[in-house]
């Protein structure tokens, strides 16, 4: 079926709907009847063929968002099938291949459901209306006498029906409905309902094919050794021992593609991966570590950030004159909060398979977050037309942002070009961990004023650290505040109604490569902001929940989130002796999430007993997906709070593998209690918003238990 999608240029009718177009194509596939396609253009005037119906009745839906565990292989077809009236069990699902007609295909920014909610439903609804009209025409009745159900159009009150396959050709010749009617949510069969993910059986039997599992005939395997120091240069190497390993075909140079500039790396190519990995360890390589060896370390970067925090940042947003107010106030407080660098460390290390063929075409099979980016980067690297490139997105064995940066894929393409054979590159865990890029370490300098009547009167958040936008694309002028950070911390986003409010940003540069990491900056700045709100509440003599209610008095939707948290905590009953709770809340990706961490002291140190999360994501595809993602966010958020971060010394990463970069294991897993705020608001994100409140809820719980205000992550629970 995938092949068919590419040849659908034969007949295309485009309706001009000013924003939403609908395209209908029929193509001849070398056999007379052909396969009928109903294709739909979504917003941004890009043509997105998501629905393909064969005359044989086979319905193929296209998932335009790679699945890294967030459940897009279920969520995307659910959105279409809901309106198309087809059973999910009866469809084929294919991944989009990066072509523009599918629109943006990046899984990231928790955008899949919130971004595609309306357009994918319209894709399904348009197709359904055309199928109904085709059936009505055939029966000589009006369309309101017909309805669609389970892949058939049925004539009301009579025992007549026509399958979608029988109607596809006639439907394809009809005009495209301009405004297909979407279902009333009360009639939803899939959306907002618990449905088992249909791909789970494959994921528990070893059948699911991840990027690392791809097999291509004649494929070679490569293990790549990158400069151990940031921007290190390859001087020379001795590969005589490596070449003696049975199975080794070649040792060759490739490029290491990094935000700070490309450097050379060395690859061993063999006829099996073990030989390549074993031989790579036998390479005797001389690297020039360069000047960064003397200057690049995390301590220096962190002290630079504390220095920058002393100054004034670049103004991003201000209500009132914070500095004057702060100077004139007597009841005020300040604190600097710190978060470390972190590795994504998906259990599937980064990998990719590429075949640069003699005829000039290229195939890429890779666990990447965005096939559209993969397409343009592959074409750009080889200097060829994107038409020559075919991207085959594979399941990702976790990603968390990392596999949206595709330097590993470019290596596979480059090595295949050099070897004139398909090549699969798999980074060893050590390379995956020590090369990054990483979640940046950042500071929040917080200042606040307690006003008359113990009100929380003024807040200043001075965000400090390296900018992803600045480091990757040079896209940040020295006079600019980072817009991503500004958006996250703006009053518009947090809705805390401080009469005086200031948000500033100071960029502190580092060559340590950085990248988005689950929830991006919210994972850094949620820590400072939400611990500090707690500090202010305590200083004002207020309960932290009551203080937030006052701050959010103009945001009724957020007040309901707090009310839900209170209700859930009350239902949990009185805390056992020696147990305390801390709470926090943070909005990211259009979803407010609140969390309560229950903590106690044991002989081994502090123990997180239970985490309660409230998620207000509006409408959603499947409440169980929301809960699963939130469980993941609790675990990743706690890991970020209590496990060691990534550090650099003398230009090199100090961590190599899971023995010295750890995240939570079973024995540390608390009980979880997750609740979704039920409403009919437009969907917000789900994959990330549960994470930011976890660390500050823990910090606030530690304060409640010990009286100590910890401001630096990670926290060693054993020694608090």
């Amino acid at each position: 079926m995938m092949k068919n999608v590419n040849t659908r240029r034969d007949f295309i009718k485009l309706s001009s709907l000013g924003g939403l177009g609908l395209v209908l194509g029929v193509n001849q596939l070398g056999h007379a009847a052909g396969v009928k396609k109903l294709t739909v253009a979504a917003a941004e005037l890009e043509i997105n063929p998501f629905v393909i119906i064969g005359t044989d009745g086979i319905v193929t839906l296209v998932n335009s968002r790679p699945d890294m565990g967030q459940g897009s292989t279920q969520a995307v077809p659910s959105l279409i099938a809901e309106e198309l009236e087809i059973d999910l069990k009866d469809i084929n699902l294919i991944q989009s291949d990066g072509r523009r007609k599918y629109g943006s295909q990046q899984s990231g920014g928790s955008s899949t459901v919130r971004g595609l909610w309306t357009n994918l439903r319209k894709a399904g609804a348009s197709a359904k209306e055309m199928l109904i009209e085709a059936a009505a025409n055939q029966w000589g009745v009006s369309t309101d006498q017909c309805y669609a159900e389970n892949g058939k159009v049925i004539l009301k009150g009579q025992n007549k029906s026509l399958g979608y396959g029988e109607l596809a050709e006639a439907a394809s010749k009809l005009p495209v409905p301009e405004n297909p009617k979407l279902k009333d949510p009360a009639d939803f069969r899939y959306l907002m309902k618990f449905n088992k993910r249909l791909d789970v059986p494959d994921r528990v039997t070893g059948k699911a094919v991840f990027g690392i599992d791809v097999e291509v005939p004649g494929m070679l395997y490569a293990s790549v050794i990158h400069p151990p120091s940031v921007q290190g240069k390859l001087i020379s190497f001795d590969d005589s021992a490596a070449r003696k390993v049975i199975g080794v075909k070649e040792v060759l140079k490739t490029k290491s593609y990094y935000p700070g500039g490309d450097t050379e790396a060395l690859a061993v190519v063999a006829d099996n991966y073990w030989s390549a990995q074993k031989a790579a360890k036998l390479l005797d390589i001389k690297w020039d570590d360069g000047d960064l060896k003397k200057t690049l370390n995390t301590d220096k970067y962190v002290s630079d950030m504390y220095e920058a925090a002393k100054g004034e940042g670049i103004n991003s947003e201000e209500d009132g004159d914070f500095n004057a107010f702060y100077a004139a106030s007597e009841n005020k407080l300040e604190g600097i909060y710190e978060t470390p660098f972190l590795s994504h460390s998906a259990i599937e290390p980064v990998n990719a398979t590429a075949h640069v063929k003699e005829d000039g075409t290229v195939d890429v099979w890779a666990p990447i977050q965005g096939p559209d980016g993969a397409l343009s980067e592959t074409a750009g690297l080889l200097g060829i037309s994107p038409d020559k490139v075919k991207i085959h997105p594979q399941l990702l064995g976790g990603s968390f942002g990392r596999k949206a940066f595709m330097n590993f894929m470019k290596e596979a393409v480059d090595l295949s070009r050099q070897m004139k054979a398909p090549v699969k590159v798999i980074w060893s865990r050590e390379e995956d961990m020590s090369q990054g890029p990483y979640r940046p370490a950042m500071l929040s300098k917080m200042q606040g004023v307690i006003g008359r009547g113990n009100s929380l009167a003024a807040l200043s958040h001075h965000a400090v650290g390296e900018s992803i936008m600045g480091q990757h694309w040079g896209g940040l002028m020295p006079y600019q505040a980072d817009g991503w950070i500004g958006g996250e911390l703006s009053k518009d986003n947090h809705k805390y109604n401080f009469p005086v409010h200031k948000l500033t940003y100071s960029r502190v540069k580092t060559q340590i490569p950085i990248l988005w990491w689950r929830s991006v900056y919210a994972s850094n700045f949620g820590w400072g902001q939400e611990c500090f709100i707690d500090e202010m509440a305590h200083k004002a003599g207020k309960d932290p929940i009551a203080a937030r209610k006052e701050l959010l008095k103009n945001s009724p939707r957020d007040l309901k989130v707090i009310a839900k948290l209170e209700e859930v905590l009350e239902k949990q009953g009185a805390l056992p002796d020696g147990h305390v709770r801390g709470i926090a809340m943070f909005r990211s990706f259009e979803t407010m999430s609140a969390a309560a961490v229950q903590l106690t002291k044991t002989d081994e140190g502090l123990k997180v007993v239970k985490v309660t999360s409230i998620v207000d994501c509006g409408m959603h595809v499947n409440p169980d997906h929301v809960k699963a993602q939130t469980e993941g966010n609790i675990v990743m958020g706690l890991s970020a709070a209590v496990k060691g971060g990534i550090t650099f010394s003398n230009g090199k990463c100090d961590q190599q593998n899971f023995h010295n970069y750890q995240f939570m294991r079973f024995a540390e897993m608390p009980e979880v209690d997750i609740h979704i705020v039920e409403n009919m608001e437009h969907p917000g994100g789900v994959g990330e918003p549960g994470l930011p409140p976890i660390a500050p809820a823990l910090g606030n719980a530690i304060f409640n238990l010990t009286g100590k205000r910890l401001r630096k992550l990670p926290i060693d629970l054993a020694s608090v």
Binding site: D67, M68, G69, Q70, G71, K196, R197, V200, P201, D202, R203, V204, T205, G206, K207, F210, I212, D213, E215, Y221, I246, N272, Y273, W274, S275, Q277, K278, A346, I347, E348, P349, L395, L396, G397, G398, S399, F400, I426, S428, R429, D624, A628, Q629, E631, G632, N633, I634, V635, M636, N657, F658, H659, F663, M664, R665, F666, A667, M669, E671, V672
Partner: protein, 162 residues
Amino acid sequence: MAKINLNVNNQTYKFEAEEDMPLLWAIRDFVGLKGTKYGCGIAQCGACTVHLDGVAIRSCQMPVGNISKKQKITTVEGLGTPETLSAVQEAWIEEQVPQCGYCQSGQIMSAVALLKDNPSPTDEDIDAYMNGNLCRCGTYDRIRKAIHRAAGESAKDDIGKR
């Protein structure tokens, strides 16, 4: 190079390979079963867990040359298919455990071994036994529930024998 003769999921596989190659890579690249995963290569994550004569081992640490043809290797593919699921796999589906699913082969192989030794484990037993299996997606809570569910089922289905 040595002649390797492996019994994997009750089938014999013969190939030539270096004896120091970890069983993990033999299973993946020579036997051709991809359900067993590479995560760390140093027995820290458990993604490569398989059974050797019924005992859970980290296949990244076991040189293929150390295994005799009489020893039985079981991988996740040997437990069951989507059509013929084992009780543990069924429990995993009932609890909707996997997110990305990459670590789940290893989790399931560990869980089956745990239930064989201890048919009704407590939370503490599960935590202790499963502590060597990492999950970055954070499915630990559901795994616990799935193991309890499978333990409930195992009395009926005798899954421990698998």
